[in-house]
């Protein structure tokens, strides 16, 4: 998984379709932000059918990661700085 491998991540959903992953984020997390493909979460360019839903749960960031042979994984990573950065973008996009 490249630099994703160095993260302390938890797999929330595995071998899902991209749409299942997006619906899961929207249904299971109160906060989410929609981004476009290529948007950087941590050091990862997220891919997917736009819009891509990124979940926020306290200091946790929940984002999709697709592998060609294994479909889409939904990963949960604790990172206060990144959660704050994404929440700030959410406020800007709503302003």
């Amino acid at each position: 998984m490249g630099c994703v491998e160095s993260m302390n991540y938890e797999i929330v959903l595995r071998d899902a379709t991209f749409r299942e992953s997006r619906e899961y984020v929207r249904s299971n997390f109160k906060e989410s932000i929609d981004v476009q493909p290529g948007f950087k979460v941590f050091d990862v360019h997220v891919i997917g059918l736009p819009p891509i839903a990124i979940g926020l749960d306290g200091d946790f960031v929940i984002f999709p990661y697709t592998k060609p042979c294994h479909g889409t994984f939904l990963l949960r990573v604790e990172d206060r700085e990144e959660a704050v950065r994404l929440r700030a973008l959410k406020k800007v996009s709503r302003a």
């Binding site: 360019h45 059918l49 736009p50 592998k67 479909g71």
Partner: protein, 157 residues
């Protein structure tokens, strides 16, 4: 001679999917050959297994030119450090559709989705973004997909 303007060569990116469906490598080599003959410079992006299958199949690199890691290619295009004139995404599963949609969003290339495999109709139905879909039921035998590609002749478009 040095001051003569040189025409910019058109480029094509081939985005490989998981190599579990056998036709991918053969079709990629075929498409690379046709693109090169038409004067385009093909570049391949895939995961390690998909790229290695292609490189091992063409040890003297008669066909295969530049090969880059798929995640790196997505990063370069997203960061606007690189782009291509045409982009061919190999699609036989949901991940392939996801990569095709991503390329459509981040790249200015004319996009082609090459859809194949046992469930090619199911995958083709998921493609609701602008691109040219070239689809055929091809799993072990590449000829149905080759025929579909020949009918579109994307190297000439």
């Amino acid at each position: 001679m040095a001051d003569e303007p040189t025409a910019k060569t058109s480029t094509a990116l081939l985005v490989l999917g998981c190599p579990q469906v056998p036709v991918q490598t053969g079709i990629a080599l075929y498409l690379i050959n046709r693109l090169k003959k038409a004067g385009l410079t093909p570049v391949v992006a895939g995961n390690k297994a998909a790229n290695t299958l292609l490189v091992v199949s063409d040890p003297d690199r008669h066909y295969v030119g530049e090969v880059i890691d798929l995640d790196r290619a997505v990063g370069l295009i997203s960061d606007k450090k690189r782009d291509f004139d045409r982009c061919f995404v190999f699609v036989h599963n949901d991940a392939g559709v996801t990569y095709a949609a991503t390329m459509g969003a981040i790249s200015g290339a004319k996009l082609y989705a090459l859809v194949y495999g046992e469930h090619f109709e199911e995958q083709a139905k998921k493609i609701d973004f602008p691109c040219t879909v070239i689809a055929a039921k091809a799993v072990h035998n590449p000829l149905p997909l080759k025929k579909a590609i020949d009918e579109v002749a994307p190297w000439a478009a």
